[in-house]
């Protein structure tokens, strides 16, 4: 007979199933970072002058900055000269259709459960697939173009829509915003670009799938989404990486811009390799995500399910500049084994009657450490601003930890800010109750955890909510005691 604690251990110990490596040749620059490397990346991508200038400015700034030490995470120092800053699957000529994509790569994505063959796709989702440093395929581009929607890799956007890139790049996350954002600005190699013109409601989910394949390679992608007046888009991001013993760095930047009456929903299901049971390997996920509600009545929501990475450092934020704009953050962050997460959000209220909602659900199992860090800032002009925050922590077992660091700054007396927090434990009693009704321990844990995360899952697009539930089940296999 196994005790609940043992069953939960087995449950937690389930293996990472996306850990395979695809055997493809890649075109990479030598490890290390210098102005020459940046010039090389920019040249490889045949970028206009302004991009190179911007990268170099970012790089020079980065040299003067230091890695942030305030997050509640611990890791050995990163040697930035050992990282490969550009790696692209070979051959990469200009692809005219999906038929020209390397079959090995198509197979890789099939294995990950993502079909890039449009005719095989059942759901209305357009995908931009990114391997290591470059985008390998973008589906449904032509259908979207008919509506005036631009959805392509960042590199393509720099070539074909450089005026838009020039206008919006760095307007939400400046090149000198923080250490990792500066690094990203200097070396980013690809990412997704999305532009929804005035009055258009994007008819399908747009999604980017990130895959790190090559060893010792950092992934620095940059995503820019612009929704013009009255436009709407729902965007999803998924990520996996092979299992490797050494840590891999992922430092992405995502910028969202919503003009008057526009709405952007951005959902992430993050499943980077978390490292093994002893805490060896895994992805360092140092990401800057920020949205700007630039227009009146605009709305930006971030929904994230974070189950992977050895370390997560990430605060998807919203700048509520337009009057009556709305910012939302819904998050489930799971840490198991030796994973560490310091995640949360920033809601910056500038406009009048701006509203924000924060629902954060942390789950810690094994020796995982989970911190919520959030800032609600109400500026002087933000009359009638309102915020509601709820931060819950769920502990599974007795070797994990949950921490909450809420910061609130209010400079306007008409503001209303509410903060609620709770910490609970999956009790032996709950499991026993389920067992006594014939439900096995691992099903009981899944059921309890999913119940706990329900408020966040209902903000995910349908298919992804199902995926997220399964993912949580798998990531938690083996964890109550």
């Amino acid at each position: 007979m196994t005790t609940p604690a043992e069953t939960i251990q087995q449950f937690v110990d389930r293996d990472y199933k996306y850990g395979f490596v695809t055997d493809i040749e890649s075109d990479a620059v030598p490890p290390g970072l210098s102005e020459d490397v940046i010039r090389l990346i920019s040249a490889k991508k045949k970028e206009p002058e302004f991009m190179l200038e911007w990268r170099l400015k970012a790089y020079r700034n980065w040299l003067t900055m230091t890695e942030p030490k305030w997050p509640n995470v611990h890791y050995p120092p990163i040697d930035y000269q050992k990282i490969i800053y550009y790696s692209a699957p070979k051959p990469k000529k200009g692809l005219n259709s999906l038929d020209e994509v390397d079959p090995e790569l198509l197979k890789t994505f099939e294995k990950l459960g993502i079909s890039l063959q449009e005719q095989k796709r059942l759901t209305g989702v357009a995908v931009d697939a990114i391997v290591d440093s470059v985008s390998v395929a973008t589906t449904f581009q032509k259908d979207l173009e008919k509506l005036g929607i631009l959805f392509c890799s960042f590199s393509d956007a720099v070539q074909k829509h450089s005026e838009l890139v020039k206008k919006y790049l760095g307007t939400v996350v400046p090149y000198n915003d923080n250490y990792y954002a500066a690094l990203n600005s200097a070396v980013f190699s690809d990412g997704s670009f999305c532009f929804i013109p005035k009055g258009v409601r994007c008819p399908m989910e747009l999604s980017t799938y990130f895959r790190i394949n090559a060893a010792n390679t950092g992934q620095f992608e940059r995503t820019l989404i612009i929704a013009e007046e009255g436009a709407y888009v729902s965007y999803l991001e998924g990520c996996t990486a092979p299992m490797r013993d050494e840590n891999q760095l992922h430092a992405a930047v995502v910028e969202l811009i919503a003009l008057d009456d526009a709405e952007i929903k951005y959902s992430t299901v993050q499943n980077w390799y978390p490292g093994d049971r002893e805490g060896k390997g895994g992805v360092f996920n140092f990401v800057t995500k920020r949205g700007k509600c630039a227009g009146r009545n605009s709305r930006i929501s971030w929904t994230q399910v974070e189950t992977g990475s050895a370390i997560t450092w990430k605060y998807p934020s919203v700048i509520l500049q337009g009057d009556h704009s709305v910012g939302e953050f819904y998050s489930v962050a799971l840490t198991n084994n030796f994973q560490q997460a310091d995640t949360g959000t920033k809601m910056i209220h500038i406009g009048k009657n701006t509203r924000s909602t924060i629902i954060s659900k942390g789950i810690s199992a094994g020796r995982g450490q989970n911190s919520y860090r959030g800032l609600v800032k109400i500026l002087k002009a933000a009359d009638g601003a309102r915020n509601y925050s709820q931060c819950d922590s769920l502990l599974i077992g007795d070797r994990c930890g949950a921490h909450t660091f809420p910061y609130i700054e209010v400079k306007n007396t008409s503001a209303q800010v509410e903060h609620e927090a709770s910490t609970s434990k999956i009790g032996e009693d709950q499991i026993f109750y389920c067992n006594q009704r014939g439900i096995a321990t691992q099903d009981a844990v899944s059921m309890i955890v999913n119940g706990y995360c329900k408020e966040v899952f209902r903000h995910l697009p349908m298919e992804f909510a199902v995926e997220a539930q399964k993912l949580l089940g798998v990531s938690l296999e083996g964890s109550v005691g």
Binding site: Y433, G438, K454
Partner: protein, 257 residues
């Protein structure tokens, strides 16, 4: 035919002996009441029968021809043992209907029957709800969350009605119930009694037994059954108190042995 046969069952926790040799046979179609003062081991007995692991256990328990002590908690449940908990736990965010359907389907799978879908299950559930006069809104709420004490107890019996156990153990189901709720719960339990199942009612007070008439009453004291009898034993206890039976010479002899 006997459903449950307990032979010389002993149990201890942290070196403290709680059950000191219980013998009890429960046949199909019977209702047994187990009464006793606080700390006599009533709840421990219930916990051991459903498979709680906190105790070291000796003795033999046959259930439906199988060795019960070798079975996992969920296996016992799937084989038809149901415990109406004294303190039902809350499971936030987990919908009651979803939970109960999962439990129901586990039992069906165990029996090699096909699982039922949501529509079929809802039909079944609505029928069973009438027995307990439960409000339908309970079905849409998370398991026991925000339920009053009485609602929790009624919900336990409702679950029992849906899962249709072969052996139901009711642990202090009457505590925390007002007289109206008590009548509803008791009438539900009575309706569920059949010739092919059995019930064990654990209670401190006699009042539940005004509504659920037991075939046998056992008095548990200091880890032993010190007296067994028919339904009139419960009334006698009510009248004279536990002291009377504990000080009875026959009981003293048993406790001393």
């Amino acid at each position: 035919m006997s459903i449950l046969e307990i032979k010389n069952l002993k149990a201890s926790v942290d070196g403290k002996q709680i059950l000191k040799g219980i013998n009890l046979t429960v046949n199909a179609g019977e209702t047994h009441a187990i009464m006793g003062p606080n700390g006599s081991g009533k709840s421990t007995l219930a916990q051991i029968l459903v498979g709680r692991k906190d105790y070291s256990v000796e003795g033999r328990v046959r259930y439906d021809g199988k060795d019960l002590l070798d079975m996992d908690v969920e296996e016992r449940a799937r084989e038809g043992i149901f415990l109406a908990f004294q303190y039902p736990v809350e499971i936030p965010g987990v919908n009651s209907t979803y939970f109960l359907k999962a439990a129901y389907n586990e039992i069906r799978k165990h029996r090699g029957q096909p699982e039922v879908d949501a529509m079929e299950f809802l039909t079944l559930v609505k029928e069973k709800m009438k027995i307990l006069e439960l409000d339908q809104s309970l079905l849409n709420r998370p398991v026991n969350e925000g339920f009053s004490g009485g609602e929790k107890k009624r919900n336990e019996i409702f679950q029992m009605a849906v899962l249709d156990p072969k052996l139901a153990i009711l642990d202090e189901t009457d505590s925390g119930l007002d007289i109206d709720a008590l009548k509803i719960v008791a009438s539900g339990v009575n309706k569920l009694k059949r010739a092919d199942n059995a019930q064990i009612i654990i209670t401190h007070y006699q009042r539940l037994l005004n509504f659920i008439i037991p075939d046998f009453v056992h008095v548990l004291f200091d880890g032993r059954i010190i007296r067994s009898g028919g339904k009139e034993l419960a009334l006698e206890l009510e009248e004279k108190g536990y002291d009377w039976i504990v000080k009875h010479p026959q009981a003293k002899e048993l406790v001393a042995s």
